[in-house]
Symmetry: C2
Subunit: 227 residues, 2 copies
Amino acid sequence: MRYVTSYPRPVSSPTSRPTGLTERRKAATQLDIARAAAELFAERGPDATTAEEIARRAGVALRTFYRYFRSKQDAVGPLLAGGGDRWRALLAEAGAATDGPALDLGAVLADAVRESLTPADATAGEALEVTRGMLRAAHEDAALRAVWYRVNQESEERLVPVLAGLAGDGADPLDVRLAAAAATDAIRIAVETWAASDAPAEGPGSPADLAEDTLRQLTGGLRLLGA
Amino acid sequence: MRYVTSYPRPVSSPTSRPTGLTERRKAATQLDIARAAAELFAERGPDATTAEEIARRAGVALRTFYRYFRSKQDAVGPLLAGGGDRWRALLAEAGAATDGPALDLGAVLADAVRESLTPADATAGEALEVTRGMLRAAHEDAALRAVWYRVNQESEERLVPVLAGLAGDGADPLDVRLAAAAATDAIRIAVETWAASDAPAEGPGSPADLAEDTLRQLTGGLRLLGA
DNA sequence: TGCACTGATGGCAATCTGTGCCATCTGGGC
DNA sequence: GCCCAGATGGCACAGATTGCCATCAGTGCA
């Protein structure tokens, strides 16, 4: 464990479409591992699951597992981070569409949040339910909570450059940072609140519904949004 | 690692004063280990430090080390969490002093933040510098970052009941939650920003100075504070 | 003060984690 | 069809964690 020479790729941040067969296989393998880990974690909890078992269920060697993920807990990262990735992609799109400093950043944020938290299809709905399951399991398991913390922090960090792009060059880096933190927290708290309830993924009490309120409250005083 | 039967005590949350000799010794031991870990982490980084070495420098057996901390990185937790603990204590005091629903929650928060981030003595100043060192080391070490995430999240969770007490019974739990998140983020970002700079612990660019701004921006839109 | 009890610590063994290294296999380009 | 770069598997090993048991030191009580 002494010196780290090379790390596995980040658990998310889809910057390019998989093109060749090899690329697609690798993406599939990562997802296989992530699903295997999520299943086992949900069944017995992360502590009672070994990396070896995850690898076996995913159909890869232990060594390969560690080429994809730096740790056992990391393996569920892609599932938990998926929503955030989609959200950031939406934001970046919105920025590209309305290219110009004249866009209403607050409105763009709110739209992207609503859209990314409203399940577009069955797959998206399942993803939310998986998240709910992991968060409930996390209530009992510190290691799993740690993964959730990490995913959210990384989501916040990756949001910074996106927001900086939307806000333009004149923006104070600290203000951008605050906006990223506020928006990330708004989503996090909305999702956590929903996960703790029995509300469905759509309608009153849904993540999208709750986030509308949390986002407004947390971003209401931000200089970056013109407060 | 299979089944976890009992965990070490939380790394912080001083709810009672150490009374007997045993209690005081345990507190001292925990601090000895934390300091030893911080020294070694700062010297060579967490990856190049073994738990064995931390234990040896702290003068305890490896087995004892793991009775105090769940992992190697966790060992620095008490040092990182100290500031938050002090801050929450200040808040609770303020609430007890001004007992009544008539207090200006925003002002109380701001006062407590300023006071807890302004080093009262040499020890407090050193604590901030240690934090800076750890945050810089965390830049290179994912596990150390995870500790920082955890410390902040736990600080936020512990803040919730304190704020609920200050806000009174009528407060919406979600609003309280948002206030806790906003305040915690304000402090976190202020400290992180300071740690990344070369600013001294007092004056312009100090944590207290930065936090004044971050707190105002993040709490400016909160319903709990009357926005 | 002296005894019994409870909890803290050390030491040891065993399991699991995470990484370096090398052999083999496979898609992709020429 | 041949060659190369990258992906995977297998193996060994240092280090991380934890269960278990023996010992020792405060604490409470007679």
